[in-house]
Symmetry: C2
Subunit: 196 residues, 2 copies
């Protein structure tokens, strides 16, 4: 089968992205060598630079991909709930569960802030994940379930709490660590609920 040029290009790019994602998740950004990613895909380093301007550029693309997937997964889980409050809880729990994926942990939570810089990381995180959290909180405020207040500081606190907890859970052997964390999170969230 003969491929058109555009198809070939797209296929190579996809392959680099997939291989990069595998290695970044496994070894961490620093220990991944760009040329090896290229060769693993059957392409030389020089060729890989036609698709990504730098090693960080490849990483950035991988981050965007993983972010996107995570955001959608969490949002989908949350949307399965009808009650607004349960939506918030479900979203948070889905995020904690997503930390089981090494790609999420190593790439998004550990390496991304350093490699891309915290500001850029935050912007991407905002667009993909925290935005949903902000929306959910805003809905709750509108519904009168949560007291009127600026919602972004709250979202930042919760986002940080979830990130850290997800990392912690991944390295904590205890069977019930997840359940305990979810319970602790519920207690914190309860502080937001006007009538509880």
């Amino acid at each position: 089968m003969v491929l058109t040029r555009a198809e070939q290009r797209a296929a190579t790019r996809r392959a680099l992205l997939a291989e990069g994602r595998r290695r970044f998740a496994e070894d961490g950004y620093h220990d991944v060598v760009f040329a090896e990613v290229a060769h693993a895909v059957g392409v030389t380093k020089g060729a890989a630079y036609h698709h990504f301007d730098s090693k960080a550029g490849l990483f950035r693309a991988v981050v965007a991909e993983v972010q996107q997937e995570l955001g959608e997964r969490v949002a989908a889980t949350a949307d399965r709930q009808d009650d607004l409050w349960e939506r918030l809880r479900a979203g948070c729990r889905a995020f904690l569960a997503a930390g089981a994926d090494p790609a999420v942990r190593r790439i998004l939570l550990v390496d991304a802030p350093t490699v891309l810089g915290w500001q850029e990381w935050r912007a991407m995180d905002d667009a993909a994940s925290v935005r949903h959290l902000v929306d959910a909180l805003a809905d709750l405020v509108d519904a009168g379930v949560v007291a009127e207040q600026p919602v972004e500081p709250l979202a930042r606190l919760l986002s940080g709490a979830l990130n850290e907890a997800a990392l912690w859970l991944a390295e904590t052997p205890g069977r019930d660590a997840l359940a305990q964390t979810e319970q602790a999170l519920d207690r914190l969230l309860a502080g937001l609920h006007v009538s509880r």
Copy 2:
């Protein structure tokens, strides 16, 4: 004045530590070149390797130093309060305020987890900061102010929330962002308080 050999060694080490701290805070781990740190102190790269086994080793020492200072500062602020609940609040607020220091942000919160690995970072963070948080929460549980529960997941959630919020505050121009964050934090904490 002539220095003894031990004095000379200690002085060089201190100077490397100070210069490293400055640069790590300013430029981030990756953009700091080890040889330049050495030369800025009036010493060659080879000499610097007599004091620190690697660039990461220097960074590790800097992290320990900053961690130590931060932990002490936060604990001192908290201990100024008599009431256990106010102690917790004061400690959290002191931590948020500490995020104003670029060294804390860039070195401790952004770079340390990647450079040292998340596990080692966590161990150091535990020893210097989170331990105080765990103690404060445990005291509150003992006093019956906070419901009986495993205290570590809670501490992890709070630690993550504070880390993220500290970073966010540093880049958020709004005058009242700090006040809003403190208020949001109070609401979350309120969920822990049995009689509120």
